[in-house]
Symmetry: C2
Subunit: 431 residues, 2 copies
């Protein structure tokens, strides 16, 4: 039996879940992996939390360096969160020749390349399956299952909070605020939901998917990010009339040798497999040149789905311990190398747009004239209500247009006297 000693740093929801799984399934894990995984240390700044650790052979500390100093520790599990201290712990662990498992998406999105470089230099394995998709083994699939594929596209619904809110709004009777409150009451959304609804959390995960799937060294700030804050129940309703569902999508797409990398609310055809992913579920839709299209779907968060993935990372490292094992994460695809990022202004998509205009003769002519001057051609337009001299929504679908043109046109339109509220534009994906 191969002995694997781990140090658990951060004993919050996921950390205590990992401890529970390892404790309750010790025998199970031994039988199915040949590994005897023992938690040697639990570290948390919060002394109250440490009291919950069932001791046995486990030592507790509030100082991460106690763990990093211990020569017997094979794997450090970083579950502190945040980017400052967590980065410090991981880098020091790698330099102390300890393998690392982390679920820290923000950290990897911002400093992944740096960390993987240090790990590579030290021949240390870093596993981070739980950083994207909770219980969905998407990272492992991209790193191993699809290793011989050249990816063409990733579409991800990878933020459960946003998807819950959009699903509730689509079911009717919920506006954004009520849907968010329900998400918070049910524990799906944080007290401060900004990271989720701003699209930032999705962007963190997208950065990791790009690094692993496209092997492209993306700078996090190059990802275009737009959250769901501007979506109104009416937009979901109008989109439905056109045959579309609105989802917060994380998109990475090979486009003529460059990469599109963007997170934004997106109209997807109702028949698209991602349109039916509802509530807190996550899904990642991959297109690769060998596999064709593939979808992974499951619980994208939660204590046990995430803890289960952390444990499978531990077992993966354990099974490769004391062997010559390199990660090859940072090695780019030199044959199909992407030359850079396609800027958001250069991207062409179709659009849904909603204008809040005073209902009077000539309004539509004015708006469509501005659109035409910016090379935007309208596929269909509906004035949803008629209330002379009052504000009514004008809703349209465009043909494919350049984002930069769309931005300029909307700025010009929003300056018109007849426009009474910020205009809404949502990109369409229909592949």
């Amino acid at each position: 039996m191969k002995k694997v000693n781990i140090g658990l740093i951060g004993f919050g929801t996921i950390g205590s879940g990992v401890a529970e799984v390892l404790e309750n399934r010790q025998k199970f894990i031994r039988e199915h992996s040949g590994l005897d995984v023992a938690i040697k240390w639990v570290c948390d700044k919060n002394h109250a939390v440490l009291k919950k650790v069932r001791l046995g052979q486990t030592k507790i500390t509030s100082n991460a360096y106690d763990v990093l100093r211990d020569k017997n520790i094979d794997i450090v599990i970083e579950l502190i969160g945040g980017t400052k201290e967590a980065k410090d712990v991981i880098v020091k662990a790698i330099k102390a020749k300890k393998h690392v498992v982390t679920a820290n998406k923000a950290l990897l999105a911002l400093y992944g390349r740096e960390i993987f470089k240090i790990a590579d230099k030290n021949s240390i394995m870093v596993r981070f399956g739980a950083s994207v998709g909770g219980g969905i083994p998407i990272i492992r699939a991209l790193r191993e299952g699809f290793i011989s594929n050249r990816l063409d596209r990733i579409y991800g619904i990878i933020n459960g909070t946003s998807n819950f809110i959009l699903t509730k709004m689509a079911d009717g009777k919920y506006d954004f605020g009520k849907a968010l409150r329900e998400a918070q009451e049910k524990g799906f959304a944080e007290r401060n939901p900004e990271l989720d609804i701003s699209g930032m959390d999705s962007a963190h995960k997208l950065a990791i998917l790009i690094l692993i799937g496209f092997r492209f060294p993306i700078n996090f700030k190059d990802i275009y990010v737009e959250g769901i804050g501007g979506i109104e129940a009416g937009d979901i309703e109008y989109a439905k009339e056109y045959g579309y569902t609105i989802k917060l999508l994380a998109i990475a797409k090979r486009n003529n040798g460059r990469l599109e990398a963007r997170v934004h609310p997106t109209l997807l055809p109702n028949a698209h497999v991602l349109s039916n992913v509802s509530g807190i579920y996550n899904a990642i839709h991959i297109k690769g040149d060998l596999i064709g299209e593939s979808l992974f779907y499951g619980e994208g968060a939660g204590k046990f789905p995430t803890a289960g993935t952390v444990v499978s990372d531990i077992i993966d490292i354990g099974s490769r311990l004391r062997t010559e094992s390199k990660d090859y994460i940072l090695v780019s695809d030199s044959e199909n190398k992407l030359s850079g990022i396609k800027k958001i202004g250069e991207i062409r998509t179709r659009y849904y747009a909603r204008f809040s205009a005073i209902d009077k003769p000539g309004v539509l002519a004015k708006i469509s004239g501005i659109l035409a001057r910016h090379n935007i051609s309208i596929a269909s337009v509906t004035q949803k209500e008629r209330k002379t001299a009052q504000v009514v929504p004008i809703v349209m679908m465009t043909h494919e247009v350049l984002e930069a043109d769309m931005q300029k046109a909307i700025r010009t339109i929003d300056n018109l006297d007849i426009i009474k509220d910020k205009s809404i534009r949502i990109k369409v994906e229909s592949e």
Copy 2:
């Protein structure tokens, strides 16, 4: 760079696909795995086929023993198909201390336990990702990603031919024969489609999923198998009226310490995530105690999806070559051990049933009387047409009943004079 020498035995569609991928992506694979994979031998009985091999350093032979004798071969790729010769090749390869990659589902369904036992004794790795789901990395997910989970259920749409036929029939205008012919014309179905439409192919794959997912040493013949041959377009139509879609489902389910293992046409609620899996696509829906529900979806067959998976298995073994690596496939879960198979007669489900009866007074009373005597209670019943003294379909949904009772009742009903055709019963799953 670690050198990995492989011998490819069987150079049909998948075999030549593997050779193409390894050849075209040599550099890519080197960069991303640190492995230099070289095809040392290609073996096929068919001499004409061997002429297509691009030589370089590759030797060709029609005798598999040339490959097995070569001391430099690290991995043997068995793509012969069939169970007799393929088994012989694999067992001899293992005994010659060569690791094995195979896509042979029938072989593993019938002799998997025996092969894994020999592999374990010889400390040899056997990989078979391509045996289920083509390009979908479900085997890897079950073996590694979900390793710390206790599975509760697997639902699989794992035969593309059957799913294509059922989808075409559901779209309307196609009967079974026309749908099958189109599948054959498009190359989705074999000239002899028996293995697919009889449910046997799904059962082979289910046996493998059970072995890996539930770690239960199933005997293939203990799987209940029923194909789609009896389904008529009308059944699909009537099921739709009740809010259901008919799919050929492979089911493995933990049920009070025993395992249900069955393949049969199944009514699934339209809103079920599997109801929307159409055409040749495959999908596997997993329920585990940590991950909750998870779905994998993609192309379940085809040259390149399958070849890609074979190549990722090669890379997986390659990355563990010359390390102490055991498979732990046969080790059962001693804590949550399943005590046996639940026989089909003992299984309780709801049913859709269709009776072809002469339309005359008292017919329904007769049928429902027999059902009642067998403890079968009817949830709803519709006589679809009225044509006095002619044969009309009587369609019903039952409450939950015991399969054994249903079988007996149907036998009795089918013996009635008023019944003019074999009655149809289809199980319902709604979890």
